[in-house]
Symmetry: C2
Subunit: 410 residues, 2 copies
Amino acid sequence: MTLPAIDAATLMARLQRLGEVGRGADGRLIRLAGSEADGAGRDLVAGWMRMAGMEVTVDAVGNLVGLWRGGAPAGAAPVMLGSHIDTVIDSGIYDGCYGVLAGLAVIEALQAAGTRLSRPVALAAFTNEEGVRFAPDMLGSLVYAGGMAAEAALAIHGTDGVTLREALTAIGYAGDATPGFLRPHAYLELHIEQGPVLEHEGIAIGAVDRLQGISWQSFVLTGEANHAGTTPMAMRRDAGLVAAQAIAFLRGRIAPRGGSTLATVGTLTLDPGAINVIPGMVRFTLDLRDPDEARLAEAERGFAAELQRLSEAEGVSVESTRLARFEPVIFDAGIVAQVEAAAARRSLSCRRITSGAGHDAQMMARICPAAMIFVPSRGGISHNPREFTEFRQLADGAAVLLDSAMALAR
Amino acid sequence: MTLPAIDAATLMARLQRLGEVGRGADGRLIRLAGSEADGAGRDLVAGWMRMAGMEVTVDAVGNLVGLWRGGAPAGAAPVMLGSHIDTVIDSGIYDGCYGVLAGLAVIEALQAAGTRLSRPVALAAFTNEEGVRFAPDMLGSLVYAGGMAAEAALAIHGTDGVTLREALTAIGYAGDATPGFLRPHAYLELHIEQGPVLEHEGIAIGAVDRLQGISWQSFVLTGEANHAGTTPMAMRRDAGLVAAQAIAFLRGRIAPRGGSTLATVGTLTLDPGAINVIPGMVRFTLDLRDPDEARLAEAERGFAAELQRLSEAEGVSVESTRLARFEPVIFDAGIVAQVEAAAARRSLSCRRITSGAGHDAQMMARICPAAMIFVPSRGGISHNPREFTEFRQLADGAAVLLDSAMALAR
């Protein structure tokens, strides 16, 4: 019996081919969930699935699932590989697509080698992972894992006012199957790191053992706009100052260099916004992440308390809104160990790593043992046309996915 | 001989009449320098000057000067009163106009009483004090005082692309006289405080003995935009964080509550400005003021040094641009004492006060003894339709202007 091997050249060619679907005249790749370009991308991927002899099913929220039975006993729960093919605006070609197309390459490698497994292998491309058009992100896998009713998801309006149902119907991907119709034995997702750690440390494979918790909040602080030249410091109610003090506190106390808690204030606007007017209002967002739920909750509490203290000292009022909150996900220790073992067998350097971003795997972890494999991202850049992973690194990641899938399906 | 007395009812009626010139259908008062509304306002004021028997002259940069000789010996340098009638966008009716129209009321009061003085009294409405359309602000008085050539001022492009020369020509206020054609014996400007101090302390009259120095700078900090979830704190180059730390430092060390230094960051924008992206760039402005030049310069130096230190620690680069810089102005001690004496004679409470904002008087102080008189502003609010000073307070201020002008012209 031949040992199965990834056809990395075909994988690369398909990544590039799919990366042209949704590329505009201005050179930007935009393949938002449920768009015409998404439809064309799905057609391409579904075609490749069928060419590989897979049974292709589309569920009610558009999740595209291919199944290769591979001679496994009827009724055996499949090992599922997957990710997504929708993109952000002005995207790179790897995020999501790499996981789907590498999964396809795994199945083709198993077929070519005539490998017999005791479990089928399934491949999923989940709907609207990026969440750019429809909120929340990871919507397809959320529904697949039972976290939201399909009807509720289909009624969500996109940023363009179109519902998910209308969008999927328009591109022919409003399917009949019930989300979750295949309950996997295990789920494994291969993805580019989207961060700098593996590249920085020169490591080929990340065995993702957890996904950090995410807390998104927005704040509105209201003080009093006043003349910058005539209002004594003691009489000011400077909302912008309080925001600045709170942000400085984040780095100083909540998320210092070297700690596991990440804190980012990515948006901030001052009102009225004139050089000689004390800002009477500031709006900003806070993105807090930590792999540990207790620390994440403590970071939220600590920031809220300090913001309150600073606001009271300045005579400024605070309004806060929770935008999103996900608890950390601990991936399956057995699968993580298999990934490490697979890397070791191929003499690839490997480390355990925490996923900083959200992924479909965190939803699938609700219904089956799940984990992820990361490969390096150059400069940690992602959601950007400069997103890049070397061919060799992509091939190595796919090989580890192949070996891990085989181990899970044996 | 009758004692001259201000006709406060007429003063008030004219303030309200002028406050309707440039008021749009949406109720907002906008009378930017050199606009059609400014032309209509000038026509109104020049008409009132002529009705009061004044010789009206327009100089090359549109400064409108009325002269009442009042039987003074030929060649005697005049006492000049004045301010401006251009406004900000969505303005109140007092800022500037009060000083011009109270000056008119002073001259009418002197005429009505048949007062004979040894000096003429002149009244100036300077061009583009607010600086909203043309930069710099206080442009007309700057040119009048010889601080900029008329030709240079006329070539300045407004925010709408129109030059000052074109704007003045269009409204018929590009005059022939040479700016500075009347060299005053003294200059006195009555103005609303535009700050909260007099109201806060329940004082009727501010004898303005100095005008604080002003430093305007803009900063661009450049770090690196990156994913908020996947970039470890130790690998971040967060430009927004550095700006926040620098702003917190301003309040903590440069401009604490109770000190004389004022520090305001009124504009700040983060780039790219997404909730889950570390800000790679921040642009902000800094408005620093202090009545003492040494302290102002020290505040600039102290901020620059700390910003450099914080930026280096974060791997962020700093670019700074000086937008405006005025040294503090010390007004004439003799005139200030006369203002205090005039208030005392009318049993009005009075305190010495520093002007936080810039005024035409600071330019006129370059060529003659100058000072200002302030009346309270409710809530310290200015550059805003809610700007308000009570009728009684306006009348008291005009009375003190009258008495002070008489003392200066005797």
